[in-house]
């Protein structure tokens, strides 16, 4: 009698709802992942029936590859630039839109537009913007008298990564903006009234009322942004393929080149697992830090 009630309280019937999702996820994400882990201990070209077991050799090779360190550094640079450009823009626009009396719907849709473009198309468009002779950036610089700053952006060792990151931020901010907008909707309006009564101006309102109220949203969005930055691939591949000479190499492009362009599946799997562990670690750390300082 007691057991039956305990079992019912476990609500195991809920698993019936979960099973579809779990099935798809296990078969098409978890299973390949475990196979990837296994493959990372082999040397394989992807279609040869024979695989060669090499133990940890792939991992050791990865750790001693100087390009890996460079790629990691680039990902970190990417994270930092994205926070300013992508997150900053997204939050700013979300706040402004939410304060709009009229035209909210218009701005919401229009500002979301770049996110509707596929990375391939966005890479193509920005490739033209950065064209050394007829691109918008250089033409603009020349027209305001700063022509000496003009250069081939996507071929520049110093600027290639930044240029691609800017292009990606343009494409991506819309997504985060929508998420911030959602968070902003749940801010208690009476807090704003109270702040106005206290005589707070726009900036103070933002810093002392808005930001703390949307803290959970910010944590969520920043975590997503962190994950996406560490995984970034499409725009880099479309614009520079990691060039020139690895200056815009990121983890994902390095992995792609190794596993697929060089037909080294085992090594590629090892690298991508290291990337997955990195993403996981950093993200969990970030969330923990945020939760702890929430007080």
């Amino acid at each position: 009698m007691d057991l039956k009630r305990k079992l019912r309280r476990l609500n195991l019937w809920a698993y019936l709802f979960i099973i579809p999702a779990l099935t798809f996820y296990s078969v098409f994400t978890l299973r390949p992942l475990t196979q990837s882990i296994i493959l990372s201990f082999y040397d394989w070209d992807g279609f040869n029936p024979v695989k060669r077991f090499v133990g940890f050799a792939n991992y050791i090779e990865a750790l001693s590859d100087p390009v890996l360190g460079l790629a990691l550094l680039n990902n970190i640079k990417w994270v930092l630039i994205s926070i300013i450009l992508s997150q900053g823009t997204a939050l700013l626009l979300a706040v402004l839109i939410s304060r709009c009396i009229i035209g909210q719907s218009f701005f919401r849709s229009v500002l979301f537009f770049p996110n509707m473009l596929s990375p391939m198309i966005a890479a193509l468009i920005w490739g033209r913007i950065y064209d050394p002779l007829i691109g918008f950036v250089n033409t603009f610089l020349k027209s305001i008298g700063y022509g000496h700053l003009a250069r081939g952006w996507l071929g520049s060792p110093e600027w290639a990564l930044i240029a691609v990151c800017i292009a990606n931020s343009w494409r991506a901010y819309g997504y985060y903006m929508v998420l911030y907008l959602a968070g902003l909707q749940s801010v208690d309006p009476t807090l704003y009234d109270a702040a106005k009564v206290d005589g707070a101006n726009g900036w103070q309102e933002f810093w002392y009322v808005t930001l703390p109220s949307i803290r959970p949203t910010t944590t969520l969005v920043l975590s997503l942004a962190l994950i996406n930055s560490l995984m970034t691939f499409d725009m880099v591949w479309g614009m520079t393929q990691g060039g020139p000479f690895h200056r815009s190499e990121v983890l994902s492009t390095l992995i792609y080149k190794t596993a697929f362009a060089s037909n080294r599946v085992g090594y590629g799997c090892a690298l991508s697992l290291m990337q997955a562990i990195l993403i996981f670690t950093i993200t969990i750390l970030f969330i923990r830090i945020r939760e702890r300082s929430e007080g």
């Binding site: 809920a14 709802f17 779990l22 473009l117 468009i125 819309g174």
Partner: protein, 266 residues
């Protein structure tokens, strides 16, 4: 207030100008695209569009993209709402653990599973088929996360009173919760459709048969190995955006409502 408008307008320009440039250039011929990239076309070559449509086989590729994107979206909506409901409203044994396993999936980069996934599809006989692209695209953690958050905010009294009335769990889900979830479903529909429509790498490796390839892959045909026909490429790009925009407009209100009701609140 005016300052806000000005800033928003500036960003609007930044958001729209690059694509408008593509639209502008899609009416020029190849020589003009490079000699006069920012000006108005001397002649509006509307035949760029008809030519892109025909030689680029855009109808074929678009239909393929629809055949892939629509089932993917529907499947994602169904699977995510079911799972999201359970995670969001039912306390069951192991719910935190299983949910964390799903969250973990957000952090797995595609390259980590690409090759084994290919072989799994091969084993299931799903290569060179639409299903091979659709099925792995369903059940993404993001959708579950979204629906769970939304369902969590619906007051408990609603389901409790239904239960007291003797309503079965699945009926509660189907007739009470799901209709309430339209905003979140709208948001998920847009994200899911866009994701599927814009995806390139996965369909590219699963389907090598040109007749079944979706649009993003088909656009490659304009960029052959040693020759890119830019005017056709630009026209094709503009055409490829029409379904996305249309889909967005269709679900726009639910999307906005979904945001407004805090579907993505923590």
């Amino acid at each position: 207030m005016r300052l806000i408008f000005i800033i928003l307008l500036i960003y609007t320009l930044i958001a729209l100008i690059p694509f408008s440039w593509v639209v502008l250039n899609s009416f020029k011929n190849n020589t003009e695209i490079f000699s006069n990239p920012f000006g108005f076309p001397k002649q509006f070559l509307f035949n760029n569009y008809t030519e892109a449509w025909v030689t680029g086989k855009l109808m074929q590729y678009m239909i393929n993209s629809f055949i892939i994107a629509i089932p993917t979206t529907l499947g994602t909506l169904m699977v995510s709402s079911l799972a999201g409901y359970a995670f969001g409203r039912i306390n069951f044994w192991g719910d935190t653990l299983v949910f964390s396993i799903f969250l973990f999936g957000l952090m797995i980069p595609f390259e980590a599973i690409m090759i084994p996934l290919y072989f799994i599809l091969k084993g299931l006989g799903l290569l060179e088929s639409y299903a091979g692209v659709i099925i792995p695209g369903i059940g993404g953690p993001f959708g579950i996360f979204l629906m769970r958050n939304f369902f969590r905010q619906i007051p408990l009294e609603l389901s409790d009173s239904a239960r007291i009335d003797g309503c079965g769990e699945f009926k509660i889900f189907l007739y009470i919760m799901l209709p309430l979830a339209k905003p979140a479903l709208g948001a998920l529909a847009i994200f899911s459709f866009m994701g599927s429509w814009n995806s390139f790498l996965f369909p590219y490796i699963v389907i090598t048969n040109d007749a079944k390839r979706p649009l993003q892959v088909g656009l490659l045909n304009f960029q052959q190995r040693f020759y890119t026909d830019y005017r056709l490429l630009f026209a094709a790009i503009v055409l490829s955006m029409i379904p996305v925009i249309f889909f967005y407009v269709l679900f726009h209100r639910q999307f906005i409502q979904g945001i407004a009701s805090g579907a993505l609140k923590e």
